[in-house]
Structure formats: structure tokens, C-alpha cells
Symmetry: C2
Subunit: 355 residues, 2 copies
């Protein structure tokens, strides 16, 4: 020890700084004192019980129980430079993305990671705000929906070197990694199928394409396939709506009004398709005899209605679980070794009664 009588006295005489402290927060030091061991032993007993002797482990566990100790993840993260938190940003919290989120958490939780969810409402501005907030909280990784993002988001993420996995679509040039299916190819496939069924006047009922690469790609798929088949697909055959039932009905009316002779409607979402289908039924239009209707997503309702909806099954859950796996693989291994940059999980055309 150093000669420090004087110092001790000085300290004792100094102004007593009493800092505000949360209620009755139990600190690791308190647990350590009670267990009669050092804080490091407590820390180790919590994070990696194998590395301390059974004796110490037992005493620490007892002390934790008695004090009602709740570890402080903030302090832990600050010191260890990792939060064990992953953030996911989705356009909307609904059943579809709910499945994806479930896929994510099912993988993250067993590995001790938590998920922070952000909802953009389909706005890239909001996505940027959320990204910044999440980065501020030093999330270990980020899961984004789609591959279109603001320049600001791209730069931030590149500079900070945070692992990112994009989902729900594919592109040759992901920011980092991407897992999903080709919205473009899926839309082409469905359009091709409808044409193959002999349909010629196919209307398109799509989502708002602004800030939404999935909606954009689906529309491109429809247009390209119609063009290849030399069929009309001009702007008047396409209606853009928010993905809610009632807008499906409205969109359907719009198309019918402009083109009373259409013989099929390809909706880029089951919500819209079901809305359109109900509207047809209400107006006495026979589905699929007069008009064929196809959806996109294979949501729960598509197989429950009558006639059952032809649609595209997409790997909602798998995109989440796989994305989380890809992230974890990089977070839990020291190396920057990671597999494919682009993972295609595919899609499936489900032919049912509405076409």
C-alpha cells in the first residue's frame, strides 16, 4: 500500500457527494459482499457458471436470491461492448410480419438475445429515425425489411460496421446479407399462371410502391410477364391501395369500372384479394368463372374463405428465423466469416378455387 493516511483523511473531510441512486437497487457489489466473494466471482457465476467452483457458485446463487438481485444489462453492455440485443425494423406490425418476428425471436431467445422492434409505417424517413435510435442503443445487429433504404441509413450502417441482414426480398447487391424470396419472380410466376389459364385481361391490384421495393418488384413482375405475353397492362389496369380489406373492394370497383371486361385480378396481397373477392361476390360476379382472383402471401384467411384463394406462399417465418441465424453466426463467432450474402428461400404458387 502507499503511504496514504493523509489522503484518507482528506477524502473523509471532503464534501460528501450524495448522488441520486435508484430506489433500492441491489448491485453486484452487494451480492458479492453478502456471499463473501469478489464481484468478479459473482459476474462469472452469472455469465459462465462452469468457470467458478461449485462452492462459490452456491453462495452466489444464495446471495442473489436473498437480495433479489437483478443484473444491470446496461452496465454489462457498456463494459463488454455488446448488448445482446438485435433490432428488427418492419413496415407494419401485422400477422404477416408477426410470423417473421416469431421466426426471429424463436432463434434469438434461446441464445440469450433480445429483440427490439421498430415499425416504419412504410416510411423510409421513419426507418432512418429508428435506425439511429437503435444504433444509439448499440444493438449488436440489425434486421431490415427490403433492400431500399435512405442514403443516410446506408452510410451509418457501413461506417459503424454493424451486421445487417435484409429480408423479404432479394437483390444482387445487399447492404450486407439478405434472405428472402424474389418478389419479382413470384409476381411473374403468378401472372404467367393466370395467362396459362387463358386469362387475357388481367388487372393488377397492388400496394403503394413508394418506399416499398417489394410492392415495386411485384408490379414489375406483373408488367414484364404481361408484356412478354403481349397483353395489355397499362396504368389503367393497375390500382394501388393500402393493404386493407376495404381498399381491396374499392380497387376492385375501380378496375371494373375502367375495364368491365377484365377476366382476372392479380392482387399483390391477400388482404386486397379477399376484399376484391367479396366485392365481386356481392356484385354477383362469379369467381372464378367470370373473374379469376389471385392473391399474394398465403395469409391465414386465404384458405378459409369460399372460394379458397389462389395465392403465393412466401416463407414468412423462415425469413425471420434464417435471418436471425445468419446474424447470430456472425455475432457468436469472432471471425468475420459468414456464408452466402444472398439466401433465396423461394416461394410457391398455391392453386386453389379462385382461379
Amino acid at each position: 500500500m502507499s503511504i496514504s493516511n493523509g489522503d484518507d483523511a482528506e477524502k473523509a473531510e471532503g464534501p460528501i457527494r450524495q448522488r441520486r441512486r435508484a430506489g433500492e437497487q441491489v448491485r453486484m457489489t452487494d451480492v458479492a459482499a453478502r456471499a463473501g466473494v469478489s464481484v468478479m466471482s459473482v459476474s462469472r457465476a452469472i455469465r459462465d457458471p462452469e468457470r467458478v467452483s461449485p462452492k462459490i457458485r452456491a453462495r452466489v446463487e444464495k446471495a442473489m436470491r436473498e437480495t433479489g438481485y437483478v443484473p444491470n444489462a446496461l452496465a454489462s453492455s457498456l463494459a463488454s461492448q455488446r448488448t445482446r440485443i438485435v433490432a428488427a425494423i418492419v413496415p407494419f406490425i401485422n400477422a404477416s410480419f408477426g410470423d417473421t418476428i416469431r421466426g426471429i425471436t424463436d432463434v434469438l431467445h434461446p441464445s440469450g438475445y433480445e429483440l427490439l422492434i421498430g415499425e416504419t409505417g412504410h416510411s423510409m424517413q421513419v426507418e432512418e429515425r429508428l435506425t439511429n435510435a437503435f444504433l444509439s442503443h448499440r444493438v449488436d445487429g440489425l434486421l431490415l425489411t427490403g433492400h431500399s433504404h435512405t442514403q443516410g441509413v446506408r452510410e451509418r450502417l457501413r461506417n459503424l460496421k454493424v451486421p445487417v441482414v435484409e429480408t423479404w426480398n432479394l437483390t444482387d447487391e445487399p447492404m450486407d446479407q439478405i434472405v428472402g424470396f424474389s418478389n419479382y419472380e413470384a409476381a411473374r410466376a403468378m401472372t404467367r399462371y393466370l395467362i396459362g389459364q387463358g386469362r387475357r385481361h388481367i388487372g393488377y391490384l397492388g400496394g403503394i410502391t413508394k418506399d416499398n421495393d417489394r410492392a415495386t418488384d411485384r408490379e414489375r413482375g406483373y408488367i414484364d410477364e404481361m408484356t412478354v405475353a403481349d397483353l395489355p397492362c397499362d396504368r389503367s389496369l393497375r390500382s394501388y391501395r393500402k393493404l386493407e380489406f376495404r381498399h381491396g373492394g374499392e380497387g376492385c370497383e375501380e378496375l371494373l369500372e375502367r375495364h368491365p371486361d377484365i377476366d382476372a385480378i392479380f392482387a399483390a396481397s391477400d388482404m386486397l384479394a379477399v376484399g376484391a373477392l367479396f366485392r365481386c361476390i356481392k356484385r354477383g360476379i362469379a369467381v372464378p368463372d367470370d373473374i379469376a382472383i389471385a392473391g399474394f402471401d398465403d395469409s391465414d384467411i386465404s384458405s378459409a374463405i369460399h372460394p379458397a384463394l389462389t395465392t403465393v406462399r412466401v416463407p414468412r417465418y423462415e425469413m425471420g428465423s434464417r435471418a436471425a441465424q445468419m446474424l447470430l453466426q456472425r455475432l457468436d463467432t469472432d471471425e468475420e466469416t459468414y456464408g452466402q450474402k444472398v439466401v433465396d428461400l423461394g416461394f410457391e404458387i398455391l392453386i386453389r378455387d379462385s382461379t
Copy 2:
């Protein structure tokens, strides 16, 4: 200073401890150095720009831009003892709770709070796990769904004195505060309405009641009202299902098989009601002539289908926004002053074509 030449020398000679540091993380110190001011000025310029002179503010902002500084919320939270994070725990991430979550974030974000979402899958065990994880992250407040929780959760929250607002139901004895509507009264009201319509053999299609006070209360409401009216409502008239369309159909079949003469089905969820309705239509049972069908939730689809569904409108969005407001009121004011413990947002019986 103390006499410490020796000590200094010793330090200088000591091994150079180089600690692992995240990539090229820019710290507040770096910004301060670049701006030629103290860290405190940077801190103040960020949190409360009014408190520093325009001169300093400008220099700090410039330095932040140039360095691409991203504030470290962990360090900030650790030092300030508040995270500005609120956690919400919901049973399931779907359109319904999506509305509630939207209500929450719409209130939290403008006030600079972030939302951490947890999904229990209707398990109180999972709820407990999530609660502990969130408390570990020192969330400033907690929003729970319903009023039934494990003993462990209750104790933890009481001991740690974290503000809690329960939602989606009412009770005279909330853990802390509660905002919602009476699931019990709503179910009674709907049952009463059906009886008033002349229905006598009313089947009940409900959610799984385990770990779910909302489902339990709705069932109680149905039973009590039927009992008061001296109508049968024994176990054979009740079917419990997960809240998905196809289970609605199955439950409908079950009830019809056991009671071919039922003249109404009250489903405690629109999903189940719609599933049941489609099944009736498929089997050629006229709705509402042969069987009346009522739902619960006023979800999007209930007004889109044909016949439109009679249901209970519940304040999904408002429960979220109001709960968040109640929490913020306590977090942003120093005092422990808060308004009502129990806030009843009410419900509304929406009579449409299915009854």
C-alpha cells in the same frame, strides 16, 4: 497531491493495457476535443441546446456532423439512471395488438422514448422471462396485457417500483394502473343482445382460457348472462379454440354436432366468428336466419365480409395510447402523482348483418 513519484514511475513502467474497443467508435470526448469545448458542453448541447451559448452549440453540431458521432445511449442511461425505454408485453403480435402497439409508439416517440416489445404466446412463464429480461435492461416503465401474472412478476415489479400499466381488461385491484374495457361486461352485453333478438340456444366459441384473463372474463360474461336468462350454457355449448380462422370452422362443427338446434354462436374473437360464418355458409346454413353469429374485436375483416359481422368494438388503439400517456405522465414528472388507477375506455356493440 500525495507523494507519489514512485507510484507514477511504477505506473509508467507497468504493462500497457490495451483494451478491446469497438471499431472506430466516436466518443463524446472526441467531439469535445474537435469542437474545442468540454464534454459537458457537448452533453448539454445534445440534450438541452437552450442551455449552451449559440456559439458553442454551433461548434458542437459541426463537430458531431464531421465525426459522425452517434451518442451512446447505454452510457447515458447508466449515468443518468433512466433509459427512456418502455417495454410492452403482448400475448401475440397480430393486427389487434398491432393497433395497440401503434397507439403506444405514437405517444412514446414524440417524447423520445423507445418501445421494447415482447410476445408471450399466451404463456405466463414466458411473460415472467420477458419481464426479467426487460427489468435487467432497466426499462423506465412496463405495459402489460391483462391483469393475471405470475407471483414472481408481481413481486419483482413491486420491489423494483417500476411504473406498470396493465391493458386490455379491467380489475379493481390492478398491480399499479390499468386501462381498458370490461371484457366481462362486453360479453354480457353481447349475450344479452342475442337473447333480446329471440335467440335461445346460444353456443359459445371462445379462446383458450389458460393464462388469459380476457378469455376467462368473456366466458364468464356469457355464462352469467345466460344463467340470468335461465338459458342453457353448459360445457357442451362451449368450445375453446386458438384464435385462427380454421379453428373457428372446427369449433362451429363441434357445436353443430353436439347441438344441431343452436340458433346463435357468440365467438369471443372475430377470427373465430368469421371461420364459423364461412363454415355455416359452406354447409348451407343461413346466417343470420338459421344461426346468428356474433364476434368480438371489430377487426378489419368483420365489416368486409358478407354478411357483415355483428361484433364488439374495443378501443384497441386508445388502450395503447392512453396507457403510454399514463406512463409518461409519471415518468416525466418528478412527483409520484398520478391520476386514476383504473381507466375504463368502454366498448361498443356493433350490430350488423350476421345477427
